[in-house]
Amino acid sequence: MTVYRLAAVLGLATMVLSAPEAMADRDVLHTERSLYQSIVVYEQGGLRCMSFYRRAVRGARQTCMKVANPNDLIFDYTKMMTAALYVVPEPARILVIGLGGGTLPKIFEKLLPDARIDAVEVDRAVISVADRFFGMRAHDRLRVHESDGRVFVKRAIGRGSYDLVVLDAFNQDYIPEHLLTQEFLTEVRQLMKPGSVLAANTYTGSALYAHESATYGAVFGQFYNLRAGSNRVIIARLGGLLSREELQRNADRHEPALRPLGVSKDWLLSRMSTDVDWRRDVRPLTDQYSPSNLLNNHR
């Protein structure tokens, strides 16, 4: 009975993957079918982008950089991620889960010359594309690990702590469901110490919003909730949030370095809300209950 099942799965996969290309106005630099996705690197209007779709789909860009100014931050969510530095101004050890084009590790590497950064990516092909096309070079202070994020975190428990943990393994189309549960966040929490900060790139505009909020709230308590368009970034701190004055001070400190990259402190500070704008009566996501992708399809 199972041979037919496998054949059906493979047939469907082939149909999805061989959709015709429609990228006429784009200069495609590289295409690759990795174990996890189809990777396309293209240039358009001075931007070099990585997409996991062969066809041009709106909002499906994973990562982009300006060819002329590779360090500029383009997406609102990457800008909002830098607000983590307003909460922990000088992290010595940083863990980034989910590499993409390496935008965030590169930014932290540039802003914090003394920080030691571990970046974790499950897809070997993404690691090599980040290196070849997005200037994401691994070295002593910036190590890239090919691993499932959850497995890396579990193995790292008890081997020192991180001052900043960045979760960037999610995109609009697919959520690794085992990276969005109370148990996983509790494991991440074990990698943190008082004063450590977690920054996560997440979702708005679906039933997932409330569930996700409940999940982060269950593990970290109150958090900063930053929103811009369809982007949402959650920033939590072990040991309580900072006062407005402290945030302001840290923002001032990073302003000279961040401003040239396209991030303004007023824009960011005004977004660091602690208001609860979600339904409180939903259940947190757990390893037993984690239909994140289904919830994200419920508008």
């Binding site: 099942r5 691993s147 289904l294």
Partner: protein, 198 residues
């Protein structure tokens, strides 16, 4: 009447296997992740368990043929699944600590937790064929129909689990529910007075 029950059991068994396989991925993910080799290990273990189950079920069917034997198989399917649910945390943690390579971790875990219930499910089909086929010239027709029912059951188990059950229930609760249905269906066979099909 009896053949209806036999077909029902074969269809349910197909449903059960695919639901267990999908939820198996969920059970392994917290320890071993969602990498392609985790799914590879899981699918391979299910295939091997079904293969061995077909073989053993075929051997068993030559000895005797009673509908209630299918009932026993369903009961065993339920009990071994419940044991796996209860043991999963300590087993997975032990493997995480003691096995280095992530591929063999997931392979070993899938084997320890899912081989036996899947093998037992595989034993259902050949036993069902034995009960259904009245004479040799009709064997192909009945076998084809049985494959249809059990594979259709697999498709239904896949769709319902991945589209709906995980949205409504917790993983363990789904497995408890599936096991309860198996036990109920198994008990039904004991009410069958003649004990043989056709």
């Amino acid at each position: 009447m009896t053949s209806g029950l036999v077909f029902g059991i074969a269809g349910w068994s197909g449903f059960f296997v695919m639901a267990l396989e999908l939820l198996g991925g969920r059970i392994l993910a917290p320890n071993f992740g969602n990498s392609i080799f985790v799914w590879g290990a899981l699918i391979a273990v299910f295939m091997m368990a079904l293969a061995v189950g077909y073989l053993l079920g075929g051997l068993w069917s030559t000895r005797r043929a009673r509908v209630r034997d299918l009932g026993w198989l369903l009961g065993l399917q339920a009990v071994t699944t419940l044991v796996s649910v209860l043991l999963s945390d300590p087993v997975l943690d032990w493997i995480f600590e003691h096995v280095e390579d992530a591929r063999y971790q997931s392979f070993l875990a899938a084997t320890l937790l899912f081989f036996v219930p899947t093998m037992v499910s595989g034993m259902v089909s050949p036993c069902a064929v034995r009960l259904l086929v009245p004479r040799a010239p009709l064997s192909g027709r009945y076998t084809g129909l049985l494959f249809f029912v059990s594979t259709f059951g697999s498709a239904a188990g896949t769709i319902l689990t991945s589209f709906y059950f995980v949205l409504w229930f917790e993983v363990n609760h789904i497995l408890y529910g599936l096991s309860t249905v198996s036990i109920g269906l198994g008990l039904l066979t004991f009410g069958w007075s003649d004990g043989t099909a056709v």
